[in-house]
Subunit: 354 residues, 2 copies
Amino acid sequence: MSKIHNFSAGPCILPQEVFQKSAEAILDFNGSGLSILEISHRSKDFVAVMDEARAIVKRLMKLGDDYEVLYLGGGASLQFAMVPFNLMKSENGKAAYLDTGTWAAGAIKEAKKLGTVDIVGSSKAENYSFIPKDYTVGSEYDYFHCTSNNTIYGTQMRTFPKVDTLMVCDMSSDIFSRVIDFSQFDLIYAGAQKNMGPAGTTLVVVKKEILGKTGRDIPSMLDYSLHIAKESMYNTPPVFPVYASLLTLQHLENHGGIAAAEIRNEAKAKLLYAEIDRNPLFETFCVKEDRSLMNVSFKLLDESKKEEFDNSWKAAGINGLNGHRSLGGYRASLYNALPIESVQVLVDVMQNLK
Amino acid sequence: MSKIHNFSAGPCILPQEVFQKSAEAILDFNGSGLSILEISHRSKDFVAVMDEARAIVKRLMKLGDDYEVLYLGGGASLQFAMVPFNLMKSENGKAAYLDTGTWAAGAIKEAKKLGTVDIVGSSKAENYSFIPKDYTVGSEYDYFHCTSNNTIYGTQMRTFPKVDTLMVCDMSSDIFSRVIDFSQFDLIYAGAQKNMGPAGTTLVVVKKEILGKTGRDIPSMLDYSLHIAKESMYNTPPVFPVYASLLTLQHLENHGGIAAAEIRNEAKAKLLYAEIDRNPLFETFCVKEDRSLMNVSFKLLDESKKEEFDNSWKAAGINGLNGHRSLGGYRASLYNALPIESVQVLVDVMQNLK
């Protein structure tokens, strides 16, 4: 079978080494004669996996002991509820949200169930084609929530605002893809299934001191403090997804960390956007300055060439290029593990479309 | 390496075929050239996995279209909160709980956050050594909650009460192990990591008609109705744990279903309990009539023989026999995938201890 170029938006391509090593661990984990699927999460071998999976995140993000790292189940969508449960005051709770796309709107919906939400900026009326920048967030808010990268619309926050309250960020689709001062955030969360690992676990990085101040009676499984007290083992964790995430992060660390990934990601995005800008047949959905380096959402301007284009990229071994059903068009996701060679194959197909 | 006899309480032994097939799928899923870890959950291939994983549960349980099957993230502990969110009325909500162990108590703790909980029976004062049977549950309750098998204490509900309200059961540690009339329950849930699959997903089987009646504003991810409306794909599901669970359930179906598993499980339990009853050195923690066929918790009566016993079972290739830290002693978990040959190895070790 010829090579497949996997542009899927998530779950998505991971390093081939992660597939090899995790398949091996399913047959025999650490030479124990047991599968990683059948060992106790309290076994020495798995406790070591969880400890290292938590530690490597702080090393990669250059964060200190004031932060805690958790691997939870339930997906980033569960964080939409956990964030207000843990940070929004039970009396007169009020949070500021930036509305930059479908997932930001999902987070807003859950926060509204627990208190007042002020949308300090929104590009919804323009079909989320840009990142609002003209807003301030004062200390009257319990926290500010933003989405660093909008997978569907192909926009990305290139800079982050200074706010006078806690800073919360959903980094599901661009975590570990670029150098950021992570210490500007009080809480970061990300579903694993883009740059971090397979579907089934969600990373939470949280500054301990911000917790326990809402006066709320939080369901235990939604309470960050409880998960921290149990070192991310309050209940049986999603063992295999955590292990495969560790393998992915070890691969990142062994290949130059976030700084090196950023250089590779910038090169891939530059290659593809250059072709979109050069080729009169294609156009992005969003404004130039807010283009995402992770998800390149674009449309074909001449519908009569759609069949030819679709046949061509499929024939070239490209997979997962269809746009999200809510937007249409195409979406090339350029996550950490996608090689630049795959982008070149796509660019070649675009250039050959006359 | 000699064979390992895995008595782990969960995550636990699964059929060897599941390890083989899931390792293959990580390297190449369905001959697609892609790993199951990198495919979209919206891909045709994975939608087929989810559809079949839902359908096979209804076939195995002999349930009709009035039930819905979900595979959620977050673990059974999240169900402790989801059950009251979905079933306990927002005004004067009141539920009846049976307190048979640590996990039952965990479920009670979460329900109390949302309404009144009456504990209709408890064996806590006797260290959970039996299943309370002398109670009734009237229609004044929104629902009744019980735990079918108590992993730590080695007790199991051999029969279920008739109640005048909704019947909810946590079957995490004995689901698919014995023939039951599953239609007597309105809601069943179970963390996958015993008889069903690896850690990382939780099965929910729910009668549709009981939902949407509480008047509560439920966080979306905790709302069964929303998950049902999206066919268990409200958000990205835990793809690999769901796939490995499907493989496990297919193995069960191909080997005689629940009825055949029950015969094998009864034979294994009979073999081990016969030795405990015969051997003056050993004793269970619980009364005879409530003994679990899944988890045999027992103690060694002569502490001076502990080192010899521990060395012997370890030398025999036995793994995961230590009791839960809250109870001590030993625990032999005899889940569906454990072969009777492993039980014989343990019995031999017990017989050789003089």
